[in-house]
Amino acid sequence: MKARAIYPGEAEGEALVSPEPIGFYGGIDAATGVVIEKGSPLEGECVKGRVLVFPCGKGSTVGSYVIYGLQKNGVAPAAIINRETETIVATGAILAGIPCVDGVDIEHISSGDTVRVVAGEREAEVILK
């Protein structure tokens, strides 16, 4: 699948898919990478090393700092795939240096799929294995 690059890089991992938007501040614990948002379809899952797939970010702009914190603490996702990356997630991915792409029809990806993300400066590709 073709995509737009938000932050360049290559990564491969097991997909973790949320059909709902993710709010990182208060939604994911920056120390452990565990999803703590009550009622989230991913509650209790750990994002570490996974390819995190969700439609878009939501909630507080502090979410950008949480994404940075996940990376710093070694529990960040390997890559992020969005339908549309808004500024909170874009800012977080760029600050943290996590490969991030958008413009992807995320319904085609299921949790557990092995997904490879190849993102250049502008264009990107998402490969389902």
């Binding site: 938000i6 932050y7 501040y25 920056a30 702009t61 502090v62 950008s64 700092y65 949480v66 940075y68 914190g69 710093k72 500024t87 874009a90 800012t91 760029i94 600050l95 240096g97």
Partner: protein, 383 residues
């Protein structure tokens, strides 16, 4: 910068601006000569924000333009008197220290234009706090989008901002003509007007007619309220603001505001009855507002606490003029560097009286307060 010849931090910040520019369709970068960074209160950014800022400062982030801060979560000097705990204070001071290390002027205020960071007409700047953005665009005629914490920091570190949104002439044109047929006597009346109009026009640009007279204090209250109830970042007032005469208003959607609309706003924003405290200075009080308050309370003894929030710069002048002394003698206090929205006042009060349309809109959500919204003269007579 993008290639990293100026270091990792600059490259990362440049990448952030380029990407945001792509998203918003910017054709190039503009140099900025003034920045205001938000995300300063520990209450707002918590440990994730603190850790990021410390990390960035340690990695060598340095600003290359005049940069101020949004209000912090406490008075940076008299925080103990505000009932702030040691833990919160230590983390707030660490945030300020990280900013200081980056070369940022640690003047924490939503009114940088009253405290030594004053852009000129048509100057491109990158400010973050919504009422300051509105004042700079509308009253001064400078040009800024509403920046987030990281994008403002990126502008400060690179000296650049992407050319889109309110930096462009075509996006500064009005969408609505607001004809005001109501009395505007108090700062609170302008807050009520702003509350109504912001709800109506959301993130578009209103053009006001029927406001024959207003001080900069009135305009600061109007803009703040519209940015809180809506996302208004620019407004024009006929025969008053600097770009108004350049704007075409024929054929725009008209909206008439009458007295009862303002009354509806007062009623809607008043959610409590008996206030524990009166807090004013949202946005931060000007010296003229401090003079008015000191005159109103001089020689009186208030039964309820009064907080007047302002910038350190204005407080110091007010001290020299004996205004702080008058307010303290009446039982009030002048709080600098912070305000009722970003400080943890929920630990101290449950019902707060304000004369700010913006504070009235935010206090229930941000600080779990019930609100009494009225003009300051009335609130001080009752206090």
């Amino acid at each position: 910068m993008l290639a990293g010849e100026e270091g990792e931090v600059v490259a990362k910040m440049m990448r952030l601006l380029v990407r945001l520019g792509d998203v918003y369709g910017a054709d190039r970068m503009l140099p900025v000569s003034s920045v205001q960074v938000s995300g300063v209160s520990y209450k707002s950014i918590g440990d994730p924000g603190l850790e990021f800022l410390q990390d960035f400062a340690e990695k060598g982030a340095r600003v290359r333009t005049l940069t101020y801060l949004n209000p912090a979560g406490m008075d940076l000097e008299d925080w103990r008197d505000m009932g702030i705990g040691e833990e919160f204070a230590a983390r707030q001071q660490a945030i300020i220290e990280a900013f200081r290390q980056m070369g940022i002027v640690v003047t924490a205020t939503c009114t940088p234009y009253l405290a030594g960071n004053l852009p000129r007409f048509r100057e491109h700047i990158a400010w973050a706090e919504s009422s300051a953005v509105s004042f700079a665009n509308s009253v001064i005629g400078a040009r800024t989008n509403r920046e987030g914490g990281p994008s403002a920091l990126a502008a400060a570190v690179t000296g650049l901002t992407p050319n889109y949104g309110l930096h462009l002439d075509e996006n500064r044109r009005p969408h609505y003509v607001i004809d005001v047929q109501a009395d505007l006597d108090y700062v609170a009346d302008f807050g009520a007007l702003g509350h109504v109009v912001g709800k109506e026009v959301k993130n578009r640009v209103p053009f006001f007619t029927g406001i024959p007279e207003a001080t900069t204090d009135h305009l600061k209250a109007l803009g703040a309220a519209m940015a809180a109830s809506g996302a208004v970042a620019l407004y024009h007032v006929e025969d008053m603001t600097p770009e108004a005469h350049l704007m075409e208003t024929d054929g725009l959607e008209p909206l008439t505001i009458e007295q009862h609309h303002l009354q509806d706003a007062y009623d809607a924003l008043t959610t409590g009855q008996e206030p524990d405290v009166v807090i004013t200075g949202c946005p931060h009080a000007s010296l003229r507002e401090l003079m008015d308050i000191a005159r109103m309370v001089k020689g009186k003894r208030l039964r309820k606490p009064l907080w007047v929030c302002t910038s350190r710069a204005v407080k110091e002048t007010a001290q020299r003029m004996g205004l702080v002394e008058d307010i303290v003698a009446a039982g009030g206090r002048v709080v600098a560097d912070t305000c009722m929205v970003v400080a943890p006042i929920e630990n101290l009060f449950s019902t707060t009286a304000v004369n700010s349309g913006k504070a009235a809109a935010y206090l229930p959500g941000f600080c779990k307060q019930q609100v009494v919204f009225n003009n300051l003269r009335h609130l001080l007579e009752e206090a």
